[in-house]
């Protein structure tokens, strides 16, 4: 099933590419249609996922080269399951919101669908080389999306995006090669890239440290952890709406996922040694991102910096090294993907009407766009972490989890929630409330049926998993507990005991 899931968007891309030039009106409907099967496939996987089994499921294992140890190895566990579903869900929505793209539409759709293939591959690959291939290929469609269909400063932003994230991934590649050579010695081959086999390699603590850093820098740039975040506001701001949605919704998760799947799993000793450093960086990102978000004059940049803040929660949760923290970290990734994805979609809808993102150009538009204002406020509350919505569950779990091991950091991090209320509500106030100050805004029309249909699913999901997160958490937790068990087994670290699961009383 998993190979099908990865290949479906690619097949869709080929189908879109084959649309003849004189039938270009078919492009959008077809592009949207071919993004549905991956979603169906992802939901099928989620429905057939065995709850409570922490190991990889639906495994495909086909070795390409015996001596190099490279293979088409795919599998899914509780960590990747919801990220895959999130990816498959956001693409149809992002494509549906792309009707403003009129220039080189076919290339745009092909780039989007190849991007989806790459992202699904990242979350499903069990072969490090395959993982890296997907991880890196994502750069190309994203570069084109930002560079060709972005706004004024797109050339700068796209090149910066490629260079920053590309620079990170070469270190990852170096680490992968070294680790694969170590693993190869184990099985008498030149190299092996099977991550399940890599668990058996005994690495010295020095080797672990260097490999942790090589892998970590790539993921830190992707997350992004302050001070590696400077590419993000530019890329998010200049990217077209759909690309922003995917960037924030899925692309950043590649970093958090990488930390969890590779750094924490493969280098437990280095993880324990460096956990505090990373947790501190996470807290810095929470506070810094939030403070900077407050003063942004540009709505998209505001949301972009809020991403930095939320992803800080992910890092704090992961490196708290508690069951609650890890589970919460993964949950924040899912929730942030939904909520920030929705916020970028909403900002894009406004931009399509007025072609400006500056907060000062708006004011009081709730009177002309009441539905839009309502949706925006709802997502703003979800982003802040209002109880009952998805943002609350993850951040609470992260705070509880990190309080067990890093109480001071947890307390500082809690201020991020308050700061989130400041930047979100103050931003909302300046854009939506009061009388209309700019006469150009008087003729704004409210959301159409298509736009409502794009946002409503996200609203419902955010509410559903905010009230009843158990189905999500039940699948995440066994897999993250497995990582913690491995850390406990190979180092002197002991995970503090506090309850066994997070209560769904969050709602």
């Amino acid at each position: 099933m998993l190979p099908t899931l990865i290949l479906l968007p690619l097949i869709g891309a080929v189908a879109v590419a084959l649309v003849p030039r004189h039938r270009s009106e078919l492009l959008f409907p077809l592009g949207l249609a071919v993004s549905i099967p991956p979603l169906v496939a992802a939901l099928w996987v989620a429905a057939n996922f065995t709850v409570g089994d922490p190991s990889f499921q639906f495994v495909t294992d086909h070795t390409f080269s015996e001596s190099l140890g490279v293979g088409w190895r795919l599998g899914i566990d509780g960590i990747s399951l919801w990220l895959v579903v999130l990816t498959a869900l956001l693409f149809p929505l992002a494509l549906a919101a792309s009707t403003a793209i009129t220039d080189r539409t076919k290339s745009y759709l092909v780039a989007m669908l190849i991007l989806e293939t790459g992202l699904l591959g990242v979350f499903l690959a069990l072969d490090l080389l395959l993982f890296f291939a997907f991880f890196e290929i994502v750069l190309v469609p994203m570069y084109l999306l930002i560079g060709i269909w972005g706004s004024e400063n797109r050339r700068y932003a796209s090149l910066k995006f490629v260079l920053f994230t590309g620079a990170g991934s070469v270190f990852l590649l170096g680490g992968i090669i070294v680790l694969a050579l170590f693993t190869g010695d184990l099985v008498d081959q030149l190299s092996s890239f099977d991550i399940r086999m890599m668990l058996d390699v005994e690495l010295s603590s020095t080797a672990q440290l260097w490999l942790f850093l090589a892998f970590g820098i790539a993921f830190a740039i992707k997350v992004p952890i302050v001070p590696f975040h400077t590419w993000l506001p530019d890329a998010h701001t200049e990217a077209p709406t759909a690309a922003s949605v995917i960037l924030a919704g899925v692309l950043l998760k590649m970093g958090g996922y990488g930390f969890l799947r590779f750094n924490m799993t493969l280098f437990p000793e280095a993880t324990v040694d460096l956990a505090r450093v990373l947790a501190v960086l996470g807290v810095i990102a929470i506070v810094y991102g939030a403070v900077v978000a407050i003063v942004q004059p540009d709505i998209k940049r505001l949301v972009a910096y809020s991403s930095v803040s939320h992803m800080g929660f992910v890092i704090l949760g992961l490196f708290a090294l508690t069951s609650q923290g890890l589970t919460g970290g993964v949950f924040v990734m899912i929730s942030h993907g939904l909520v920030t994805g929705a916020l970028f979609l909403l900002v894009g809808m406004l931009y399509d009407r007025r072609h400006t993102r500056l907060i000062d150009d708006y004011g009081g538009i709730a009177t002309v766009m009441p539905i839009y204002a309502g949706f925006f406020l709802y997502m703003a509350f979800a982003s802040i972490g209002l109880p009952g919505l998805s943002g609350f569950v993850g951040e609470l779990a992260v705070l509880v989890g990190s309080y067990l091991t890093l109480p001071v950091l947890a307390i500082i991090a809690a201020s991020g929630v308050i700061l989130a209320a400041v930047y979100m509500l103050w931003g909302y106030e300046r854009v939506f409330t009061g009388p209309i100050t700019n006469s150009a805004n008087e003729s704004l029309h409210d959301l159409g049926l298509r736009e409502i249909a794009i946002i409503v699913p996200l609203i419902l999901i955010v509410l559903a998993i905010g009230i009843y997160p158990r189905p999500i958490l039940d699948r995440i937790q066994p897999s993250v507990d497995l990582i913690l068990e491995r850390i406990e087994a190979t180092t002197s670290y002991e995970v503090p005991e506090y309850g066994s699961t997070i209560d769904e009383g969050a709602g």
């Binding site: 291939a133 290929i137 270190f171 050579l181």
Partner: protein
């Protein structure tokens, strides 16, 4: 001598016969370029088939592996060797030459009667290039080197009405001759140190070095150094690369791809032939030197490529960087040969395709190709721009292209051989490489095509680009068939 004994030199014989026929056509026909082109392509195809037959014969356990004036089966002083290494080199060189000739087709048509000379020179050059890889003797290798080089000097200046083409040819000739002299001096000193010029057989360099400990290795070290320097010139490894940007920029675009790709394949294969066949016991001496040359090449190549404003110069410097990456494969000794072959083969294909695009964008006769020619190419010629993008991604080493597989191969080889520092350096330069190639992509895709006229893609070029793009992606997805062949293509 029976027929089987001629098989080792069959490709060369075929190519020389082809070259003679092309010259004869010049006498027989008034405008012989079209027929000449067909003869040249047929000769290259026949040579490629001959190489395949060689491979087949080796798989069947052929015993006539050498060609020598002194008879068969194992002569005392072999001149030409037939092994998987030379057969593989033959297939690659001849196919690349066919593609290169297809790219040059429009150039050939515009040359009129001189087109026949052009084709003859190409065939001679290709014969020389393959001879370099199939030689079993330093002298034979040098003859191949000179045959190829002299033909290429003339080709570089073929559009002689343009002054900078003359300049390119003269520069290429002077520096190339200097490199040849250095190489031949190294070969002479190798003879002084080992008492032989042969790679194989009784009393060969390899046997001498395996059986004797060289008490005073100074001459041997100097000899190896000179040979490596001479070859570094040919494969544009830094700091012996200075001729490349000027020559690439001056020579007609239609033929630069063949020049660059052909010399790279043959140069690396010949270097491998010398190091793996004649000097395998001295790996601890030559590997560190190669590692340093590789490191310098990567740095100089990528950094200087990043500041060029002419696409041909960018590609020349990128070639320097790639020479550095390819040299990494040598550090692993014979374990790295498969990686070397994969890199060289796929890189050659990319180079042919890239220069094919250059020839379309800036004209096949012209020399320079300023970045301004390339602005907004994706609007003017979308297919051309996408093909070029695939090639640039391959050069940058992005996954699902051959460039990625090739890089993984050489990086792994060097790391496994203990050159971790070189791999880290290579990774660093890869970042700069991303800038180089994505900058060019940005010019093609993100700039407006202001004031630049439309381009027309000749059908032969379109064919070459299709072949190259499809191969680059397919072998990027599933490199295993070529990797398996490359790993078998070992020298005796």
């Amino acid at each position: 001598m029976n027929n089987a004994a001629l098989l080792p030199i069959a490709p060369e014989v075929i190519l020389l016969a082809g070259a003679l026929i092309v010259i004869l056509l010049l006498v027989l026909l008034e405008r012989p370029y079209r027929e000449g082109g067909i003869v040249a392509l047929a000769a290259l195809a026949a040579a490629a088939i001959a190489s395949v037959l060689q491979w087949q014969a080796l798989e069947d356990g052929a015993d006539n592996l050498y060609f020598s004036a002194q008879g068969v089966p194992v002569p005392r002083l072999p001149m030409v060797v037939m092994d998987h290494y030379s057969a593989f080199a033959g297939v690659v060189i001849f196919i690349v030459a066919m593609l290169g000739l297809a790219v040059a087709w429009r150039l050939v048509l515009t040359l009129g009667a001189r087109g026949a000379e052009f084709l003859t020179l190409v065939l001679l050059a290709v014969a020389g290039l393959h001879m370099m890889t199939a030689s079993a003797n330093m002298i034979m290798l040098f003859i191949g080197l000179e045959t190829a080089s002299i033909a290429l000097y003339v080709l570089a200046g073929f559009t002689r009405e343009r002054a900078n083409a003359d300049e390119a040819a003269v520069k290429y000739f002077l520096l190339g001759s200097l490199a040849s002299v250095i190489f031949v001096y190294g070969a002479a000193l190798l003879f002084a140190a080992t008492g032989s010029t042969a790679f194989y057989g009784a009393g060969s360099m390899r046997q001498f070095l395996a059986e004797n400990i060289v008490a005073e290795p100074a001459i041997l070290l100097l000899a190896m150094g000179l040979v490596i320097v001479g070859m570094s010139f040919k494969v544009t490894a830094a700091p012996f690369h200075q001729w490349a940007p000027d020559v690439y920029q001056g020579a007609p675009s239609g033929i630069v791809g063949l020049m660059a790709a052909g010399v790279k394949i043959a140069g690396f294969a010949a270097l491998g032939r010398i190091l793996f066949s004649a000097l395998p016991s001295q790996i601890d001496d030559w590997a560190p030197a190669l590692a340093i040359i590789a490191g310098v090449s990567m740095i100089i190549g990528t950094v200087l490529a990043a500041v060029q404003d002419d696409v041909k110069r960018i590609l020349a410097y990128s070639g320097v960087a790639h020479a550095g990456y390819i040299l990494m494969a040598f550090l692993a000794g014979s374990d790295g040969i498969g990686s070397m072959w994969f890199y060289v083969t796929t890189y050659a294909l990319t180079v042919i395709a890239v220069f094919a695009v250059v020839a379309v964008v800036s004209g096949s006769r012209s020399g320079s190709s300023p970045l301004a020619d390339w602005s907004g190419l994706s609007s003017r010629a979308p297919v051309l721009a996408w093909a070029m993008l695939i090639m640039l991604l391959a050069l940058a080493g992005i996954p699902f292209t051959t460039g990625f597989v090739a890089k993984i191969g050489v990086f792994t080889a060097a790391t496994d051989a203990g050159y971790l520092w070189l791999m880290i350096l290579a990774l660093m330069t890869t970042i700069v490489g991303l800038y180089v190639y994505f900058r060019l992509a940005a010019v093609m895709f993100l700039e407006d095509p202001a004031g630049v006229e439309d381009v027309v893609v000749p059908p032969t070029t379109a064919l070459v680009l299709t072949v190259a793009a499809v191969t680059t992606v397919l072998l990027g997805l599933l490199p295993w068939p070529l990797l398996d062949l490359a790993r078998e293509a070992l020298p005796l």
